[in-house]
């Protein structure tokens, strides 16, 4: 498992190294480069931040500073299921922060992070456009309205049961 992750990281870095030559080494190219990495690999790994810093000859901490300033950059790989908790005005008023806290506790991760098994990742968003259903949670492509703490349990449990079912089927197929 660990070797898989290392190989994956290396593949990402190799890909970035190839593409970096499309950019000049001016400071002004920092954000375009970060956007390119985010677009191709969905997140900025510590290794890729370091690589960009070396390429542009900017301190690593400055690259990190710029990247953390903008909401569009993520620092954890996306999970299999991506949970977006809305904290727009209507959802905020209806207790969206409580829902976010519920997910944080249930999954053991904070806003913007990914569970260690890479099943779930979570982020807070500002308005998904259906305020009448507040508080709203978007899981992958499904919109869940009027979310209550019990529904949070239900959503996570649903995916876990589904995963167990798939594993069981896989085992049955192998044995049968």
């Amino acid at each position: 498992m660990d070797t898989d992750i290392v190989a994956e990281d290396q593949a990402i870095l190799d890909d970035i190294a190839l593409r970096l030559s499309d950019f000049g080494r001016e400071r002004g190219n920092l954000i375009p480069i970060l956007q390119m990495i985010q677009q191709r690999h969905a997140y900025l790994s510590p290794g890729s931040i370091k690589m960009v810093a070396e390429y542009l000859e900017i301190p690593t901490c400055e690259v990190y500073g710029v990247a953390t300033f903008y909401n569009q950059f993520r620092f954890h790989p996306p999970g299999k299921h991506h949970i977006k908790v809305c904290l727009g005005t209507a959802c905020h008023v209806k207790g969206g922060d409580i829902i976010l806290e519920n997910f944080e506790r249930k999954l053991g991760i904070k806003d913007g992070e990914t569970t260690p098994d890479k099943e779930f990742s979570m982020e807070r968003v500002a308005c998904v456009g259906c305020c009448a259903l507040a508080p709203v949670v978007v899981v992958d492509e499904d919109v869940n309205g009027h979310v209550a703490p019990s529904k949070v349990e239900g959503i996570v449990l649903g995916f876990q049961i589904e995963k167990e079912r798939q594993e069981r089927e896989k085992q049955e197929n192998e044995s049968g």
């Binding site: 301190p59 901490c61 400055e62």
Partner: protein
């Protein structure tokens, strides 16, 4: 040389000099945190060095003004004080007031400015808002306390100046803003152990040398 009138005292300074520096050089104190002498582009981020200038409608930050012949400046008008007190209270609302356990106690700029502006260190009208975690111990030579930090940026500046490249930078945004060593604390040739310029220039006690482990 140009002549200007500050609080009814005539002072003579070099033309084009920074107004804040000109006042400080002439023993006229104006509260300030983020200003660094000799810097070309001031950040003007602490919002404490306001003054009233005759002919200008509203108070202005003195660190962004160059002196001119015949300028009439007042440093203690009610609008100026009001802005300064609010700015300081906003800083204190994100500051953990635990002076007894802080190495900067008694030499802290915040204490000095609070005394100067006659406000308490725990302003009641603003909610306290602290960051988690309250300490960053990732650096091999330094500890960073985000809830003491006033985000003046002096450490970032001094580090860049004395080391050719900065080993510190601002990270994140808004209330979450911190000073970060990200990626720099692993450098094998890190020479912070002989420098500590950032610790020296910090107006509060946000950066502290790590206590040496007893072998």
């Amino acid at each position: 040389m140009v002549k200007l009138l500050v609080d009814n005292i005539e002072v003579e300074v070099d033309e084009g000099k920074n107004l804040l520096q000109a006042c400080l050089d002439n023993d006229i104190y104006i509260p300030n945190l983020c200003y660094i002498d000799g810097i070309n582009r001031v950040s003007a981020s602490c919002r404490l060095c306001f003054v009233d200038i005759e002919g200008v409608d509203q108070p202005v930050t003195s660190c962004t003004v160059r002196v001119e012949e015949g300028m009439v400046v007042k440093t203690d008008t009610p609008p100026v004080r009001r802005l300064q007190r609010t700015a300081l209270q906003l800083l204190l609302s994100v500051h953990v007031v635990d002076c007894g356990h802080c190495p900067a106690n008694k030499k802290c700029e915040l204490q000095r400015i609070a005394r100067f502006l006659k406000i308490g260190l725990k302003p009641k009208r603003l909610e306290q808002f602290l960051k988690e975690p309250g300490i960053d111990t990732d650096h091999p030579f330094l500890d960073y306390y985000p809830n003491r930090c006033v985000l003046c940026g002096r450490c970032v500046h001094v580090c860049r100046n004395s080391r050719e490249r900065s080993f510190l930078a601002f990270a994140r945004r808004g209330f979450d803003t911190i000073i970060s060593f990200y990626g720099e604390n692993e450098a094998p040739d890190l020479s912070c152990g002989d420098c500590f310029a950032c610790v020296e220039i910090c107006p509060v006690g946000a950066l502290v040398p790590k206590e040496k482990e007893v072998p």
